[in-house]
């Protein structure tokens, strides 16, 4: 217990020190920079501009991290006791078919809205994932654990990488969209990412496991 007490004291001290430090330093940021270049970014939403243009590299790595997490999860040999087959209550059976189109619509909207106001691939993808999980709960399983599902999951980062490499091969910098194509490319990338993130999250949530 003594050790814990020491740790606790240290923790409190650390918090205080950090707080003091944070308040003592003036806060700088890149807000103006973003506003200044927003017009050239191809999208109206500053956050999306940062995510898919100014710092697109981060996002490429980020979706790669998702893909690796999925591959790593799948490579843990499948469990001996599979997930219990779902016994959907009447509510699910009634709700899911009616909910499906709504959620698809919502996902589509989030994806499209991303270019103008907050939203975008991740939110849309999350919605898709939720939908897929609901479908799995209701059964029959949408069967994404197969090669097709995995291909779909990999498609996101692959397409993103492809776009980036294409721009490099075209003679401009890696991930530098040609001005005429900015919006289209960003939207397609976001679109593919939405689907991929959706599938990936759904598979991850299920531990990538097939039902019995």
């Amino acid at each position: 217990m003594g050790a814990r007490a020491v740790l606790a004291v240290l923790a409190i001290a650390l918090t205080g020190w950090l707080a003091v430090h944070l308040t003592s330093t003036p806060v700088a940021g890149l807000g103006q920079q973003v506003d200044a270049h927003l017009h050239a970014s191809g999208v109206a939403s500053p956050i999306t501009a940062v995510l898919l243009n100014f710092r697109a590299l981060d996002t490429l790595y980020e979706v790669s991290v998702l893909a690796v997490a999925l591959i790593a999860t799948l490579s843990l040999e499948p469990t001996r006791q599979p997930r219990v087959p779902p016994s959907p209550g009447p509510l699910l059976v009634w709700l899911v078919p009616r909910l499906t189109p709504v959620m698809l619509l919502l996902a589509g909207y989030l994806w499209w809205a991303g270019s103008t106001r907050p939203g975008g691939a991740f939110q849309a993808g999350a919605t898709i994932a939720g939908l897929l999980l609901l479908l799995a709960l209701k059964g029959p399983d949408p069967g994404l654990q197969g090669r097709g599902g995995h291909a779909l999951a990999m498609a996101g980062p692959l397409w993103f990488l492809l776009v980036g490499s294409a721009t490099a091969l075209a003679g401009s910098a890696f991930l530098q969209y040609p001005d005429a194509w900015v919006k289209t490319l960003i939207l397609t990338v976001e679109g593919v990412l939405t689907a991929a993130i959706g599938v990936t999250l759904a598979l991850l949530a299920g531990g990538g496991r097939r039902q019995a």
Binding site: N53, L57, Y61, V65, L76, L158, L161, S165, F174
Partner: protein, 472 residues
């Protein structure tokens, strides 16, 4: 046009393995072929980067056409190229070893190694090229996930346990690092280290350093390394011990020597941790009963040497100290990879890696025995090895700057390394039959790496001179 060339040369080391890593899991056959092809491409790119290198200015690329502070910049200075190239050589050799060794030794793993190996490689290259602290955070996460996956491949309890340990420490480490990033961003309004140079707040530096030390298994945050590295399949252990843990040291170099060159008290602290690593790691290596654990603890110790660079790289001695540390990292990488691959052969040949029962290796697997010995020479820092020339430079800096204490650490570490290396060599003599006769080809690959570690001590003059000139 040169812009395009830069764009290709800098993108290839990241894009090729990343793409291959995403595709390989979808392939039914030809996985190893795809992986090796991508690897060959990376090696070629790294060699070209070295060939077209301009000593007066590093090749740079504003990714996406947006230069910092708004965007992220790739930069291939000599340090980056050195790490890119040595990683490429090691990773490609390890991949070849895996392609030849696993199908017979561990068929279950043969196909599953490639994805993590490729992601690992891509993340490392991305890390070497980037000087953007947040971008580094994402690459570190990519690296960690791939590394943890490598550890789990064997699938038995020890592997999973080691992997979990690794994951949790890395998780804590990256969180602390990220907090440092936040403070740095708030204080300087940029994430680019070159722009933030000289203005990095102490708190941010401290937090990022602690986070990196956890990820890099730097004493006293090294506890997770041996079980994890020892549990991975041989090619995995080789990559983890030879290059992955050094990525943290790489960022520390950039942080302390380039971005925050005036934080001298902290440098002493780092070297003190290094001393602890050298002594504690070596002592634990001495007490190990299993070869792979011994090699893993020797990694803990050897990482300690690297930290000694920070107090030594001052004034007129910064050149030699810097060159020595970088060269030590390179030669240790080659030697350590060779050692873990050899350990894999031992595992396969004997069915175990208990040091007390290595009899017969010298007769029936002489190449592997010689590999362990030659790699050991580098760990001891004796001529003719890269470890020796590096140690010579570090020692010179230690005496030259009047910090003889660090010299004692270097010398003591060498002696301890000799003790645990010869413990293994001595055990290999004597007549005894092996469970299986190992294949020749993979053994020669490990031998090649060990020989490279020796050659690093004979053909070092030019690279060392250039590193001295490039020292921050």
């Amino acid at each position: 046009m040169s812009g395009a060339v830069a764009s290709w040369l800098l993108a290839a080391p990241v894009a090729l393995p990343l793409g291959a890593g995403l595709i390989v899991p979808l392939l039914r056959r030809g996985r190893s072929l795809a992986a090796l092809a991508a690897g060959a491409g990376v090696v070629a790119a790294a060699l070209l980067l070295l060939a077209v290198r301009d000593p007066d200015g590093a090749m740079e690329l504003a990714v996406g056409g947006w230069s910092p502070p708004l965007g992220i910049r790739w930069r291939a200075d000599l340090l980056a190229i050195t790490f890119l190239l040595s990683t490429a050589v090691i990773a490609l050799t390890v991949a070849l070893f895996a392609a030849l060794h696993l199908p017979r030794a561990e068929p279950a793993l043969a196909g599953r190694l490639w994805a993590p190996l490729l992601f690992l490689w891509s993340a490392l290259n991305a890390l070497y090229l980037s000087a953007d602290v947040f971008n580094l955070y994402v690459t570190l996460e990519l690296l960690t996930l791939a590394a943890v996956m490598l550890v789990t491949l064997e699938g038995e309890r020890q592997a999973l346990d080691g992997a979990m340990r690794y994951l949790l420490v890395a998780l804590a480490g990256s969180t602390v690092y990220l907090l440092g990033v936040a403070l740095l961003y708030h204080a300087t309004g940029t994430l680019d280290l070159t722009l933030a140079a000289g203005a990095v707040p102490g708190a941010a530096l401290a937090l990022m350093t602690v986070g990196l030390m956890a990820k890099g298994a730097l004493f006293p945050l090294h506890g997770w390394l041996p079980p994890a590295h020892a549990a991975a399949p041989a090619p995995g252990s080789a990559l983890l011990s030879a290059v992955v843990v050094k990525s943290a040291f790489y960022i520390l170099l950039r942080l302390w020597l380039e971005a925050a060159p005036d934080e001298h008290a902290g440098r002493m602290l780092l070297a003190a941790c290094g001393t602890g690593a050298v002594l504690w790691g070596s002592l634990l290596a001495l007490t190990q009963k299993r070869l792979k654990l011994l090699v893993a603890y020797s990694t803990v110790a050897q990482l300690g040497y690297l930290l000694l660079v920070f107090p030594l790289a001052v004034g007129s001695w910064s050149g030699p100290a810097y060159a020595g540390a970088v060269w030590l990292a390179v030669s240790h990488g080659l030697a350590k990879a060779a050692m873990f691959l050899a350990a894999g052969t031992v595992m396969h040949a004997l069915g175990h890696d208990r040091i007390a029962e290595l009899r017969g290796l010298a007769h029936h697997a002489p190449v592997t025995m010689l590999t362990l010995a030659l790699a050991g020479v580098t760990l001891m820092g004796l001529p003719p090895s890269g470890g020796f020339v590096a140690k010579w430079l570090l020692l010179s800096a230690a005496f030259g700057t009047g910090q003889w204490f660090w010299a004692l650490v270097l010398l003591a570490g060498g002696l301890l390394a000799a003790v645990y290396t010869f413990r293994v060599i001595g055990a290999g003599f004597g007549e005894a039959a092996l469970a299986r006769v190992p294949r020749r080809a993979p053994q020669w690959l490990a031998f090649a790496l060990a020989t490279a570690a020796l050659l690093a001590g004979v053909v070092a003059e030019l690279p060392l001179r250039q590193l001295q000139e490039a020292a921050p």
